[in-house]
């Protein structure tokens, strides 16, 4: 137990976490500090490209082992299944209506790539290797949760707009395409390709991540300021309980399919993390009745910082104690 807190504490004083905290504090204090939208989008493109490429290059270096397909399968199962659990939990813990609950559930089945990246940083800092293809698993987990949520709504008799256009938009959304595309480029060009562009995608990576998290903190802080008081304790508890439950499922599936310690931790983190980019946009199209400030605040304002600060070290500690290593 103390070990977990030590881990969490040493995690907390990293520049990455403190940058997030700075953004959060600045926004709560109503500072006018902002990062231009174009710059934030540029950084997220950089991060996706870098993480995808490095994953691909790692696969090229280590070869594809048979667990790749199993891991993607596990990711799909989690992304399809977790929204059902989230939905049931929301029905018990909060007074949300079916549509809002389904929209929130979609976010918790999908993933946050920045949380994934932060976990990767923590693993690297502890010299724990992970399967390079986990970024492909991340990509696979982005979209299925949306389908589960729409099914939950349709089952309740409400109308949810799902058409071929939306399907294509979800599957070909920019972050999935960039992640998968750069993964493939990394896998094809391998170590040699990585060496060529490492001074761009490897060495300055953590620094860019700091600025990106500063922006995430600013956004989360502004969101929290706006909804202050309008979210009940039930919803907030859900946003902390759900990642714990999800990570347990990630742990079990990760061990079943034989992932390494690092891979299990990353699958736990993916399960525990909640989307705040792809899913919100899809919800505005498919479930416009759902209230965006509910799902954005829970995902970005509660679950994201929870995972970033306490969640990741906790999942790592649990995985280490269960798997050993």
């Amino acid at each position: 137990m103390t070990e977990i807190f030590d881990l969490a504490a040493s995690n907390l004083v990293s520049p990455i976490i403190l940058s997030f905290a700075l953004g959060l504090a600045a926004a709560l204090a109503r500072s006018d500090l902002t990062i231009p939208e174009a710059v934030a989008k540029g950084m997220s493109i950089y991060l996706l490209f870098a993480i995808g490429f490095k994953g691909g290059a790692a696969v090229a270096a280590n070869g594809i082992d048979s667990t790749l397909l199993l891991a993607i399968g596990a990711g799909l199962v989690l992304s399809f299944g977790l929204p059902l659990i989230a939905f049931a939990l929301l029905k018990i813990m909060t007074g949300m209506d079916r549509v809002d609950a389904a929209a929130v559930a979609a976010h918790y089945g999908s993933i946050s790539i920045v949380t994934f990246v932060a976990a990767t940083s923590v693993l690297e800092g502890r010299l724990i290797d992970a399967e390079g293809y986990m970024v492909a698993v991340a990509a696979a987990m982005e979209a299925p949760a949306i389908l589960s949520a729409l099914w939950l709504v349709a089952r309740g008799g409400n109308s949810a707009k799902m058409d071929a256009g939306l399907m294509r938009e979800i599957l070909l959304n920019g972050s999935i395409v960039l992640l998968v595309g750069s993964f493939v480029i990394g896998a094809v060009t391998g170590e040699k390709g990585l060496a060529e562009i490492a001074p761009f995608i490897v060495t300055p990576f953590k620094g860019v991540l700091c600025l990106f998290l500063l922006d995430m903190g600013l956004i989360a802080g502004r969101g929290l300021r706006n909804v202050r008081g309008s979210l009940g304790m039930g919803a907030i508890s859900f946003a902390i309980l759900m990642p714990l439950i999800s990570s347990a499922f990630g742990l079990v599936l990760g061990m079943m399919i034989g992932l390494s310690l690092g891979g299990v931790v990353l699958l736990m983190v993916l399960s525990a993390s909640a989307s705040y980019i792809a899913v919100p946009a899809a919800m505005r199209v498919a479930l416009p009745q759902a209230n965006p400030s509910i799902y954005l605040t829970l995902s970005l304002g509660v679950t994201f910082p929870f995972n970033l600060t306490l969640g990741i070290p906790l999942y790592l500690a649990v995985a280490q104690s269960v798997i050993g290593g």
Partner: protein, 102 residues
């Protein structure tokens, strides 16, 4: 200079619906419009600002200049998309040069 009557329709709509609204307008035979960026705003669903957004959120503003007799068709097509969503539709009388283009 010769000018022709027209209606200027402004539609403020959520950015994720941009492509859908463009398609709906095109289907309704409206092929002239200009899309302008929106920095932020306030309405029944509260205040928002582009700088507080991640991803594709935010809003955009479609401006269509159209012959008066075609206004109803446009509004119906637009309204089908805007209906369930956050957004505002307004119409102003205007004059345009080069009516052959409309």
């Amino acid at each position: 200079m010769e000018m022709h009557d027209a209606k200027r329709v402004s539609i403020v709509i959520e950015a994720p619906l941009e492509r859908r609204l463009a398609d709906a307008l095109t289907e309704a035979g409206v092929t002239g419009y200009t899309i302008m960026p929106v920095l932020g705003g306030s309405g029944r669903s509260g205040q928002w600002s582009r700088e507080g957004q991640l991803g594709r959120s935010g809003m955009v503003n479609f401006i269509c200049l159209i012959r008066p007799e075609r206004l109803d068709g446009l509004l119906e097509a637009a309204f089908a998309v805007v209906e369930q969503h956050i957004g505002v539709v307004s119409v102003t009388d205007a004059k345009v040069l080069r009516a052959e283009r409309f």
